[in-house]
Amino acid sequence: MASRLPPVVADNDIEVECLVKAFYDTRRKVPVVAVENASFSVRRGEFLSICGPSGCGKSTILRVLAGLEQQTLGEFRVAGDGRNPAMVFQESSLFPWLNVQDNVAYGLALRGVRKRERRERVQPLLAMAGLAEWTHAYPHQLSGGMKQRASVARALADDEAGVLLMDEPFGALDEQTRVGLQQELLRIWERERKTVVFITHSIEEALTLSDRVLVMSARPGRIISEIDVPFERPRDAIELRREQLFGELSFRIWDLLRAEHGPTENAVDA
């Protein structure tokens, strides 16, 4: 991509500068700014979450980084050889026509890795994702949580640069499955120490997983704050919620988002 920054020697795996993404709304016949001037960087091995209400353009930023959309203005750089960083998608994105093993090995297959080597490389990932017994199952035979674990395994299998993009991967799951998968993601991240950009609308999820949270506001989509999450690792997704700081940080983010909405209706009445 011509507009990517030249590779620089730095500890940052991702650098985004003044990224703007605008759409033309064909129905209302007006241009819409989805992302306004986003600038941030992600250190190597850092877990960064971008948190905000729906429509704030957080997914758009990720789609640009994933090579799925072209930015309108601005530049970005992602570590690696110019291939797109692997992405874990929002909803069930496994190909229904491939079994679990072949889904996870999809990126390897595209790169021409031989079948036997593919299977060898994928097997430990399947075991890590708790899917060893489901190697030959088709996606329609899996539960929602298992599908997303397979999606994470697929992204890990195809990841050369050590950068993972995750677009609300647990958003469609029920709360218990969701916390369970957060636990597993924490465990996997502890082991692999990938650079992760994680999109979520859940403040709790962002605090549970990340080293740093970028808070975005909607219309226009803008990064309004950056919050460091100081919890020690390894973390436990459930124990973390007992900590006083967890509550304080989450209220800080709530206040930021509330300030964006302006005074509430009650306040106007009073």
């Binding site: 994933a66 090579g67 797109n84 992405m87 998608f89 026509w97 999809y106 595209l110 369970g180 636990q183």
Partner: protein, 286 residues
């Protein structure tokens, strides 16, 4: 997920009401399989077609049914064996089947290819699809005389008419199949740096397979209809010819044999298509 929450001192004791040990097993002895009445209905459902055949035989013999139009099944069966032994039934069945299979291949292969290409190539689709949309309502059987004019009275005209009929069904179903592939699968492939050709091979083609099979299944049905009609007037063999010449010679038994055999052949073709689909697209559990 095997995470267990450590009880700790603040944990509440589970109340006896919900603990597993104290609850008695639920009595499910009263739940049994289908009732006697249900089973009778099932048996009646299997037997009812057989009953009709028996009644037909009976009424035809005692004269309630006019045996000239509805000969007893036993006499149709006798005619079936005669035609089978003489070899003419095999010859006619083979002629019809061969025309349908060859015609379907000639029409189906380009239909799948064009449907796939236009499915992923938007500009081409916008320019070329209207041609086929405009031609679609033409009743295909009506152009058989034209086919006779162009290809003559031989086999070519029969292949051509089946190919044309089949082309439309398979083309439109393939195209729809590609267009209905969820966008997220294309995103996955593009994120994994798939080339255009890889996108086509790993997403568009497997995604369109269920649509292609729908087209083939519809085509089989229509191909038999068209072939029967074509053989009425434009052939010297085939099951359609058998039925038509049975009318001309008033051999009603043979006519029924032709009807039954053509139905069974059509059914078997559908079974083969289903088997092929199970093999090539095992994920699409219909």
């Amino acid at each position: 997920m095997t995470t267990t929450i450590d009880g700790g001192s603040g944990q509440l004791e589970p109340s006896a009401k919900h603990s597993n040990e104290s609850s008695a097993p639920v009595d499910v002895a009263g739940l049994v399989g289908p009732s006697k009445g249900d089973r009778l209905v099932q048996i009646a459902g299997v037997l009812s077609p057989v009953m009709i055949v028996l009644l037909w035989e009976l009424f035809s013999r005692i004269g309630v049914l006019d045996a000239r139009f509805f000969p007893p099944p036993s006499s149709i069966t006798g005619e079936f064996w005669d035609l089978l032994k003489s070899g003419s039934l095999i010859e006619d069945s083979w002629a019809t089947l061969r025309r349908i299979v060859i015609g379907m291949v000639i029409g189906g292969v380009p239909a799948i290819a064009l449907g796939l290409v236009l499915g992923v190539w938007k500009r081409g689709r916008q320019v070329i699809t209207p041609i086929f949309t405009a031609l679609y309502p033409v009743p295909k059987i009506a152009i058989f005389p034209l086919m006779l004019l162009i290809f003559g009275f031989g086999e070519a005209s029969k292949y051509a008419i089946v190919a044309i009929v089949v082309f439309f069904f398979i083309f439109f179903n393939t195209l729809t199949g590609v267009l209905q592939v969820p966008k997220i699968y294309l995103d996955v492939a593009r994120n994994a740096n798939a080339s255009r050709l890889q996108l086509f091979r790993t997403v568009a083609l497997p995604g369109a397979l269920p649509g292609i099979f729908t087209g083939v299944r519809l085509s089989v049905g229509v191909a038999f209809v068209v072939m029967a009609a074509v053989e009425f007037v434009g052939a010297q063999n085939g099951l359609g010819f058998l039925i038509w010449s049975a009318w001309q010679t008033f051999a009603v038994d043979s006519m029924y044999v032709g009807l039954v055999v053509i139905s069974v052949l059509g059914y078997l073709c559908l079974v083969v298509v289903d088997l092929v689909e199970k093999f090539t697209a095992p994920w699409a559990d219909r």
